[in-house]
């Protein structure tokens, strides 16, 4: 039975009102004004509160595939071993190759495979973090890195509950990424230009890329580095150690 008017027609009736008994279908307009990402954002806020309670700084790494996110993490783990306890959630569409690389460095890691989805969401991080907590050392972390699915577009829309968002662009990709993919740069706190050891072989005007990114988001902190040669890596390590010590002060 139709709920609006009590007529005995089911939902297969059309709305052209050609049946002759008198009635009107009353439509109702509802003002909703609710963010479509409200469900994700609520989960993200829950994640952030959980990280805060455990004294963890969470960092969401976003870039195109092959920009050097995993290599950056490998070198970061080597440099910070013994001083800052790191855990990693790896996001990929398929395979646990990145997790294997991180595990080989001796830190707790969980691989999330999205099975085709182009981004991680806060719900996946919620589950992933609980799994990570059960890994050896996973319940005692200072910094949690979330390596997002390689994609400069979709991950930018989803808050995972991170405290800092870091966007990477490698030298072979070209300097025009900030202008072409603005959302990733507007929503990040840090922009890392990676693989600077390849600058002699590619046309990548570093100053231009930095200016473009700052034009989009004047609050961005920009650094350029090479994970291979270690050039520029000190600034990155300093950024992480200062995040960690600020976080400890807040907790104390």
């Amino acid at each position: 039975m139709c709920d609006s008017c009590g007529c005995d027609l089911t939902h297969t009736h059309t709305h052209d009102h050609d049946h002759d008994h008198k009635h009107t279908h009353n439509s109702q307009v509802i003002e909703v004004h609710k963010n479509l990402l409200a469900a994700n954002d609520a989960l993200a806020a829950g994640n952030r509160a959980h990280f805060d309670a455990k004294g963890i700084v969470a960092i969401n790494l976003i870039s195109s595939p092959g920009s050097g996110k995993t290599t950056l993490l490998e070198k970061t783990i080597e440099r910070l071993k013994g001083s800052i306890r790191i855990g990693v959630i790896e996001g990929d569409i398929e395979t646990d190759r990145d997790a294997q690389r991180i595990r080989a460095k001796g830190v707790p890691v969980i691989q999330l495979t999205t099975g085709g989805a182009c981004h991680l969401d806060a719900g996946q991080i919620h589950k992933g973090f609980h799994l990570l907590e059960h890994e050896p050392g996973g319940d005692q972390l200072d910094i949690l890195f979330i390596e997002n699915v390689g994609n400069l577009v979709c991950p930018a829309t989803f808050d995972l509950g991170e405290h800092q968002r870091v966007v990477l662009v490698s030298v072979p990709e070209g300097p025009d990424k900030p202008s072409k993919y603005p959302k990733a740069f507007i929503s990040s706190q840090v922009f890392v230009i990676s693989k600077t050891d390849l600058l002699p072989y590619f046309d990548f005007p570093v100053a231009e890329a930095k200016a473009d990114a700052l034009h989009l988001n004047p609050r961005l902190q920009v650094m350029d580095l090479s994970s291979t040669t270690g050039e520029g890596f000190d600034a990155w390590i300093e950024y992480l150690t200062s995040l960690h010590s600020k976080n400890q002060q807040t907790a104390a």
């Binding site: 509802i30 479509l36 979709c154």
Partner: protein, 114 residues
């Protein structure tokens, strides 16, 4: 194509709204997609066309997309300008560094149901 998952989230919200108000048909839906939301409007419409047909509640519903502007605040003089496309420079002092505020939301504004 994260638009597909966003539209699926929208449809889930519409289904709960209809249940809440004891209605069984969604007629019109108005969504505000900000210029800095990172959402492609055509892809969003395309995803809605496909996914709305999957559910008898939303099948045939029409989607209206509005595009409210973002605000750009000048780092020098603080002048604020509303715009859908990022201005090259501050209208007042010509400074090129402008901080975007808002314009990144994807909001379900209004639903008409019966």
């Amino acid at each position: 194509m994260h638009e597909m998952s966003l539209v699926q989230g929208l449809i889930d919200q519409l289904v709960s709204l209809a249940a809440e108000h004891d209605k069984n048909k969604i007629l019109t839906v108005t969504v505000d997609i900000g210029p800095l939301s990172g959402v492609a409007i055509d892809s969003f419409q395309f995803a809605f066309d496909i996914l709305s047909k999957e559910n008898s509640l939303t099948n045939g519903a029409s989607l209206t997309i509005i595009n409210s502007p973002a605000t750009y605040r000048c780092v020098q003089c603080g002048y604020e300008e509303s715009a859908s496309v990022r201005p090259d420079q501050c209208l007042k002092c010509k400074e090129s560094l402008l901080i975007p505020e808002g314009g990144d939301a994807i909001t379900l504004n209004q639903v008409e149901l019966e």
